[in-house]
């Protein structure tokens, strides 16, 4: 798995044992992993370092997953969030929080599926970021052209 890009994953769940084992498995597989145990802690972490994908539990004491996800996006607009929910289905999860996430997965998650979704989310992040970067560069060029023309 050495040929994969380095993907930086931010884990957010108040279930510490879950994070413990999940981070061990992801680290072993070559991901860079930061573990946080609350929405607040995750937001702080996002202020310090950049991440590609956040895996966020929906229901947490204090700041819940919906709010955490929104705040993370404010800090890092390209960050993609995968929301884990112990509710039955994606629809129920959507009912409880209308915020756009890259994907909702129900707990317990199939590990291989989670890894695949993290990779997809990373790809999406790179695309969005790339598009934005291109737009930004084009804008700079246009401004420059305008300045030159002026």
């Amino acid at each position: 798995m050495n040929d994969q890009p380095n993907i930086r994953v931010l884990l957010v769940d108040d279930e510490e044992t879950l994070i413990e084992y999940l981070s061990k498995r992801l680290l072993k597989q070559g991901f860079t992993v930061k573990s946080t145990f609350s929405g607040e802690e995750a937001v702080e972490a996002a202020k310090q370092e950049h991440y590609d994908v956040a895996v966020v539990d929906l229901k947490m004491p204090g700041m819940d997953g919906v709010e955490a996800q929104r705040r993370l996006r404010e800090i890092q607009p390209f960050l993609q969030s995968i929301v884990l929910t112990a509710y039955a289905s994606v629809e129920t999860a959507l009912e409880s929080g209308q915020l756009e996430a890259f994907q909702y997965l129900s707990k317990p998650v199939d590990y291989d599926n989670l890894v695949a979704v993290i990779r997809d989310a990373h790809k999406k992040k790179m695309e969005v970021q790339g598009t934005k970067f291109k737009e930004h560069v084009e804008e700079l060029y246009r401004e420059e052209a305008w300045v030159n023309a002026g």
Binding site: L18, Y21, A88, S89, E91, T92, E95, P108
Partner: protein, 390 residues
């Protein structure tokens, strides 16, 4: 004088006679009218009204009674009234009370319909006496409350299900979190075992097997909790227009792996052309998968060469009827009433969750339809689902 007197007395006698005759005539009219009135009541009322002689033998039986119990007047007259009850011995004491007190009231007395089913009635009995105050019989008015009773039971059932669903959903949600932990911990343990050095091949196999078991059974639990949560989900069905035949065919495609190594023959007996309905195809597919899977299990359990499942569709004015018929083992009568209960399963542990049929019933009710069941041990089972076209 005597003559005159006698004439006078004759004429007064005549007047008296005339008066009596007139009174008699008016009583006769009154009597006639009362009779007509009574006949009218007996013919028109929907209640079962009967009259017995002093020995409790039926002498009169209302038209409503014929409807309620299914018997014609002639078949009932001459029979002891208590034989109309489901349990004649329990009806006896009610009649005894009436004889002692002059009247009696009994609630929810089970009667036996001609076709064998039970009809529940609230019964009011009253003694019939003659002019001398002697008991000459009993009059009974029985109000058929079977429908009301059924409705009441259904409502209680729905209430109870909603409550169970709510609690179960809460529990399922709480259990999914620890399940997720077990799942990750066992996944990690699996990785550690496969990387570990210094294990004998036997030890490695044992450990790998154990870890695999933990993962598999975690998923089994997860399967139950997710089904429960789906059961309790409050969201309204999303209806759209679609062809029911398409959904049935997709269901069979979905079940093809289950059918692969069996000799089961599936017959389609579809109504001509597409059968368009405005409902929720996703939910209905879930129902079909359940019924057809049950049918597959039922025919596989039976040691018979010809294993047959028939799927039939029918269209009435406002409804579509889908029936799944199998020639499998059948369901014993005592199980038939419980089969839709939450957590009721006759399958061995781990094979059935006891949720499938209650979920189906919940879904079909949400879609404003109903499910009926017909089954005979050793002959087979037919489940029929009726849903409104729009």
């Amino acid at each position: 004088m005597t003559y005159a007197k006698s004439t006078e007395s004759n004429s007064s006698l005549l007047a008296e006679l005339k008066k009596v005759t007139q009174e008699l005539a008016s009583h006769k009219i009154e009597l006639h009218q009362t009779r007509a009135y009574l006949r009218c009541i007996l013919q028109n009322c929907t209640e079962l009204i009967f009259a017995t002689d002093a020995e409790g033998v039926v002498v009169s039986f209302s038209k409503g009674g014929e409807k309620v119990l299914g018997y014609a007047f002639e078949k009932v007259v001459g029979r002891p009234v208590k034989t109309l009850a489901q349990d004649p011995e329990s009806f006896g004491p009610v009649i005894d009370t009436c004889q002692q007190e002059g009247c009696a009231l009994a609630l929810e007395v089970p009667f036996r319909h001609k076709e064998g089913k039970t009809v529940y009635c609230n019964v009011s009995l009253m003694d019939l006496t003659n002019r001398e105050g002697q008991r000459v019989g009993t009059v009974g008015i029985c109000q058929d409350i079977t429908r009301r009773k059924k409705l009441q039971e259904d409502l209680i059932q729905v209430d109870r299900l909603a409550e169970i669903g709510r609690i179960a959903a809460g529990v399922a949600h709480e259990i999914n979190n620890p399940l997720a932990v077990i799942n990750e911990a066992s996944g990690w343990a699996g990785e550690v075992v496969s990387d570990a050095r210094g294990l004998s091949s036997d030890e490695r196999r044992e450990l790998e097997e154990a870890v695999k078991k933990i993962s598999a059974h975690t998923m089994r639990c997860s399967n139950i909790t997710h089904k429960l949560l789906a059961f309790a989900r409050k969201s309204a069905p999303t209806k759209r227009e679609f062809d029911i035949h398409e959904v049935l065919k997709e269901t069979i495609d979905f079940l093809t792996p289950e059918l692969k190594h069996t000799s089961i023959e599936i017959d389609f007996n579809f109504a001509g052309g597409p059968l368009s309905v405005n409902s929720d195809p996703r939910l209905l597919e879930q129902v079909f998968v359940n019924f057809i899977t049950n049918a597959i299990h039922a025919v596989l359990e039976k040691a018979e060469d010809e294993k047959r499942i028939e799927i039939q569709t029918l269209k009435t004015n406002s409804e579509i009827e889908i029936s799944v018929k199998d020639n499998g083992v059948g369901i014993p009568e005592e199980h038939q009433v419980k089969i839709f209960d939450l957590f009721y399963s006759t399958k061995p542990p781990g094979k059935g969750t006891g949720l499938g049929l209650s979920i189906c019933q919940n879904i079909v009710r949400k879609l404003e339809g109903d499910i009926t069941l017909e089954s005979k041990v050793g002959v087979g089972t037919t489940f029929t689902i009726r849903i409104p076209i729009s």
